[in-house]
Amino acid sequence: MADLKQQIIAQLNLKDLKPEDIGDDQPLFVEGLGLDSIDALELIVLLQQEYKIKLANAEEGQDVFRSVRTMAQYIREHQPKTV
C-alpha cells in the first residue's frame, strides 16, 4: 500500500504529504484527505495508467475510493493477470 500512497501523492500533487501521513483506512474525501471531484477523476486515471483497470461504472467509485485499503483491494481483484 505504500507504493499506492506514493502514486496517489504524485498523481494528485499532494506535495506536503508523505505516504506515512495517509492512514490505510483514512477517508480520502471530505473529512479525510479532503480530496474533491477532480481528484476522483485523477484517481480513475491513475487506475488506468498504472494498473490498466477501468472502473465498470462511476458509481463504483464511491466504494473503491473510500480509502487506500479499499483502493488496494479493488486493484488486487481487478488487475489483469500477467503470464
Binding site: L12, N13, L14, D16, I38, D39, L41, E42, V45
Partner: protein, 191 residues
C-alpha cells in the same frame, strides 16, 4: 502595488514554487494549480498582505478584473500533451484564463464582479475604463486588477488594488498611474 518579475534564470515552475516557499504561504491547493494560477495567486497574496479585503468591504463588492495576452495557452498546451495518452482532468480544469480569478476569489472570499480580458498587449485605457465603470455603477467598492501573463518560461504579473476609500499612499486611479505600474514591471522605468 506589487511587482513580481524574476530575472534569475530559474524556470517558471521552479520560480513560482520558490516564491511560494519564500513567502511562507500555507495553501496546499497551490500545488495543484497551473502556472498562470500560481502566478496570479502569489501576486495577489503579496498585494493583499496584511489586509482582509472581504472583511473591510462586503465580499459582494470586491471585484477582480485581470488581463493578459495568451489566455490559458500555457495550460492548454500542457493539457494537449496528456490528450495523447489519458486526458488529465486536473489539467483540463485550468484551460480557461478566468480560473485564476476563481482561485483568488476562493482564497480571499471575493464575490463581486469579475472579468478576464485577453489583449495583445496591456491596455491601461481599457482597464481603467472598465474598472471605473464598475465603480461608477456602484457594483464594486474595491477591485483587484492588472496583468497576469504566463506562457512557458515567460511570465509577468503586475497587479494593483483599486479602492473607493482614500488611503495614505494611494495613487489616483488614472491611466497614467496604471501605465506606470505596468511599465515598472516591464523594466521600462526604474522603480
Amino acid at each position: 502595488m506589487l511587482l513580481l518579475n524574476d530575472k534569475t534564470g530559474s524556470d517558471t515552475t521552479g520560480f513560482l514554487l520558490s516564491a511560494y516557499k519564500y513567502f511562507n504561504v500555507d495553501y496546499p491547493k497551490f500545488y495543484k494549480m497551473d502556472n498562470l494560477c500560481k502566478l496570479g495567486f502569489l501576486s495577489v497574496e503579496l498585494l493583499l498582505e496584511g489586509r482582509r479585503i472581504a472583511e473591510e468591504y462586503s465580499p459582494e463588492t470586491v471585484g477582480i478584473v485581470l488581463s493578459n495576452a495568451n489566455s490559458s495557452l500555457d495550460a492548454d498546451l500542457n493539457y494537449f500533451q496528456t490528450v495523447k495518452n489519458i486526458p488529465s482532468p486536473a489539467q483540463f480544469v485550468y484551460t480557461l484564463p478566468n480560473i485564476v480569478i476563481g482561485e483568488i476569489s476562493i482564497r480571499h472570499h471575493c464575490k463581486g464582479e469579475n472579468a478576464f480580458f485577453v489583449n495583445d498587449r496591456f491596455d491601461a485605457g481599457f482597464m481603467q475604463f472598465y474598472v471605473q465603470d464598475l465603480f461608477g455603477r456602484k457594483r464594486i467598492n474595491a477591485c483587484i486588477s492588472g496583468w497576469v501573463e504566463c506562457l512557458g518560461e515567460e511570465y509577468k504579473a503586475a497587479v494593483y488594488l483599486v479602492e473607493n476609500r482614500p488611503g495614505k499612499e494611494a495613487l489616483p486611479f488614472n491611466i497614467d498611474h496604471i501605465h506606470q505600474i505596468y511599465e515598472i514591471a516591464n523594466g521600462e522605468i526604474n522603480g
